[in-house]
């Protein structure tokens, strides 16, 4: 019998791995269905917001792959989103517009005009390549030093993007990307992203990187290469972030280098940390809660009526409450809402008296 469980993320039993991946996919499908219901309930008036939520959720899940399995908080993942967005933009921009907007593009790039799917692949690939190159330098550090260096990574990416005029139009707006991001694209990518996150989390590489997270010295003693064990989640996470960037580029169609900077990183990190960085379920939960709250504050800022009174909430209520949430919540629960727990499908067999210990798939107490 297969049953939904709420427990720590250690797996027991033979089919646990496939069930764990399945449960991540299930979370994605539930979110997808919830989004569909929401679209019907709001009669299509909130479609944009739901779409942006989907992209943000993908960003949070992508960040979880790195933060969850290495314990390093990256403040610089927006850089990969930017790379993904520009890469997708460059390869999918109609050739005619390219001649006008980006006349100095080299070689093949000038003549390609890719449809949606390959464009997203290119976005993820470009981000992954960059991550693979700079990763070895980044992952040597942990804790506050890593936060500073990842922030530096974002500053570097921002300036390079603004400087590389042939590819990005520099400080000018990059526009004309085909608007092909639809509801189905966003949410099916989110489901796939969740699947990849779960696959990675419980794969042998994922387990190794979590061992490095918990005790680098012990892991190294067991013959695990610390740098590699941190680098792989970094690259996987960057690839997913790049894809999210591509989706965003095809949704917003016009953007600039400053669309991906420290300010845009804030809600994504808050979603992950408040939800629970060690857990995929937590990442999704954080994305749902904070996106909902952001929408509520937006409505409040626009003004609301209590009886005959028209009230307007202060500007910046969103970031104010987000900051307060971090300040108040973290001392109380540093691991976020879920901690390391996940929603998992578990195979539950009836306990036989002859068996030592509990039924397979259930945590022994303590």
């Amino acid at each position: 019998m297969i049953r939904l469980q709420w427990r720590t993320d250690r797996l027991f039993g033979r089919s646990a791995f496939s069930l764990a991946v399945l449960s991540a996919l299930l979370i994605g499908v539930v979110v997808l269905l919830a989004a569909v219901v929401l679209i019907f309930l709001t009669k299509g008036q909130k479609n944009q917001i739901i779409l942006v939520f989907g992209i943000n959720a993908l960003l949070v899940v992508a960040l979880q792959v790195f933060v969850g399995s290495t314990g390093i908080v990256s403040f610089g993942h927006m850089a990969f989103m930017a790379i993904g967005a520009y890469a997708a933009g460059i390869v999918s921009l109609p050739v005619a517009m390219k001649a006008a907007l980006l006349p100095d593009l080299p070689g093949v790039l000038k003549t390609v005009e890719l449809p949606m799917f390959p464009s997203l692949v290119v976005a993820g690939f470009a981000a992954a390549v960059v991550a693979g190159i700079i990763g070895p330098a980044i992952v040597r550090l942990t804790g506050p030093a890593a936060a500073v260096v990842t922030l530096g990574m974002l500053v570097i990416a921002n300036q390079v993007l603004r400087g590389a005029k042939e590819f990005t139009r520099g400080t000018q707006t990059f526009s004309g990307v085909p608007k092909t991001t639809t509801f189905i694209w966003v949410f099916s990518t989110l489901v796939v992203g969740l699947g990849v996150a779960a696959l990675f989390k419980w794969s042998s590489v994922g387990l190794k990187s979590r061992m490095v997270r918990d005790d680098p010295l012990a892991a190294e003693t067991c013959g695990i290469n610390v740098t590699v064990a941190r680098l792989i989640p970094f690259v996987v996470s960057a690839a997913l972030t790049g894809v999210a960037g591509g989706l965003w580029a095809h949704y917003i169609t016009a953007f600039q280098a400053n669309s991906f900077y420290v300010l845009q990183t804030v809600p994504i990190i808050a979603m992950l940390i408040l939800g629970g960085a060690a857990s995929i379920t937590g990442a999704m939960l954080g994305a749902v809660i904070i996106s909902t709250w952001a929408e509520i504050t937006r409505l409040l800022e626009a003004g609301f009526s209590v009886g005959s009174l028209h009230l307007t909430a202060p500007k910046d209520l969103g970031s104010l409450s987000l900051g307060l949430a971090l300040i108040l919540f973290l001392p109380w629960r540093p691991q976020g809402i879920t901690g390391p727990r996940e929603v998992l499908l578990g195979l539950v067999r009836r306990a036989r008296p002859t068996e030592i210990g509990g039924p397979v798939g259930e945590e022994s107490p303590g």
């Binding site: 314990g71 908080v73 700079i134 330098a137 980044i138 040597r140 550090l141 942990t142 804790g143 506050p144 030093a145 936060a147 500073v148 260096v149 922030l151 530096g152 990574m153 500053v155 570097i156 921002n158 300036q159 390079v160 603004r162 400087g163 680098p216 610390v226 420290v262 804030v266 990190i269 808050a270 940390i273 202060p314 500007k315 910046d316 209520l317 970031s319 104010l320 987000l322 900051g323 307060l324 949430a325 971090l326 300040i327 973290l330 001392p331 540093p334």
Partner: protein
């Protein structure tokens, strides 16, 4: 020759501010393990205080001490209200809480002062340019260097030649042992926040007199600069912080002068590239000890 001397002076004046910034951060890091993301925003608030006092028509001689006292109080309050509840042994939570604090401070500043730029006034004689050994320097730059030197000397005496400094260093080294020796870690944390805030007050004046204008989002740039200097120098080392600050100052002055025109936009990026390369060779920074934050 004068070119080199000019770069040296520019670097010295830039480096003086950066060294102070890194010192202000490292004081708290040593005792509490906090890398304060909101430091720049606290300085921004202190600068708004100074600008408001000025707008009231108070003379410089009153504004300066009031600003420093204001910065100290703000830092103490923030330390008590926000950071003490997190505890000492969780640098990452502390960092994220300071991240939240930064959001709150900026949002409140936007609320109170609006998004428009404030003019940050400075006395006319400070912007005058004098010639030193063939190089052009503003009086303000010289004041920067002088003030930084005075503060560095005072801090050095406090840390290395007084009992209070010994207690501070002991707490930074090992909280439990310090407690056994009769040091109250709580008061040491307070003291470090006070020093950090006082330094922040000084920087608020020097930094914004140089920049000339002030917006609620000015804090981020300060934080970034402080972080670079801190990481170059090595977390938790006062000497490293000073060295890192000056190194960053000289690097920026040198890059601004000698970088080919086409590369000008990449100044800050290049500074960060240098930091990353340095960290690859020496993860603990130039002056840092090997701690569990570096491998």
């Amino acid at each position: 020759m004068t070119g080199i001397f000019q770069v040296f002076l520019d670097g010295l004046s830039l480096g003086a501010s950066y060294a102070l910034l890194a010192l202000g951060l490292t004081m708290v890091f040593g005792v509490l393990g906090l890398v304060n993301f909101a430091y720049g925003d606290m300085i921004m608030w202190t600068a708004f205080l100074a600008a408001s006092l000025w707008a009231w028509g108070l003379p410089l001689i009153v504004v300066v001490p009031l600003t420093i006292i204001g910065g100290t109080l703000l830092s103490l309050v923030v330390g008590e209200v926000v950071f003490r509840r997190v505890g000492t042994q969780n640098p990452l939570s502390l960092l994220l809480v300071s991240f939240g604090l930064s959001l709150v401070l900026v949002a409140l500043a936007v609320q109170v002062f609006g998004e428009l730029a404030f003019v940050f006034p400075s006395p006319e004689y400070l912007s005058r340019v004098v010639e030193v050994g063939g190089a052009q320097v503003s009086v303000l730059s010289l004041v920067d260097v002088g003030v930084a030197a005075a503060i560095l000397a005072a801090l050095f005496l406090l840390l290395n030649r007084s009992e209070l400094g010994l207690m501070l260093r002991a707490t930074a080294e090992n909280v439990r042992t310090a407690r056994l020796m009769g040091v109250r870690p709580k008061s040491m944390v307070r003291l470090s926040f006070a020093i950090s805030g006082a330094i922040g007050g000084v920087i608020a004046l020097l930094w914004f007199m140089k920049v000339g204008s002030l917006i609620p989002r000015s804090g981020l740039d300060i934080t970034l600069k402080a972080f670079i200097a801190l990481v170059i120098g090595g977390l938790g080392s006062t000497r490293g912080a000073v060295g890192g600050g000056f190194l960053l100052g000289f690097a920026e002055a040198g890059l601004a002068t000698w970088l080919p025109a086409g590369w000008r936009g990449y100044q800050q990026a290049l500074a960060f590239v240098v930091v990353v390369l340095l960290l690859l060779l020496r993860p603990q920074g130039i002056g840092g000890r090997v701690t569990d934050t570096s491998r």
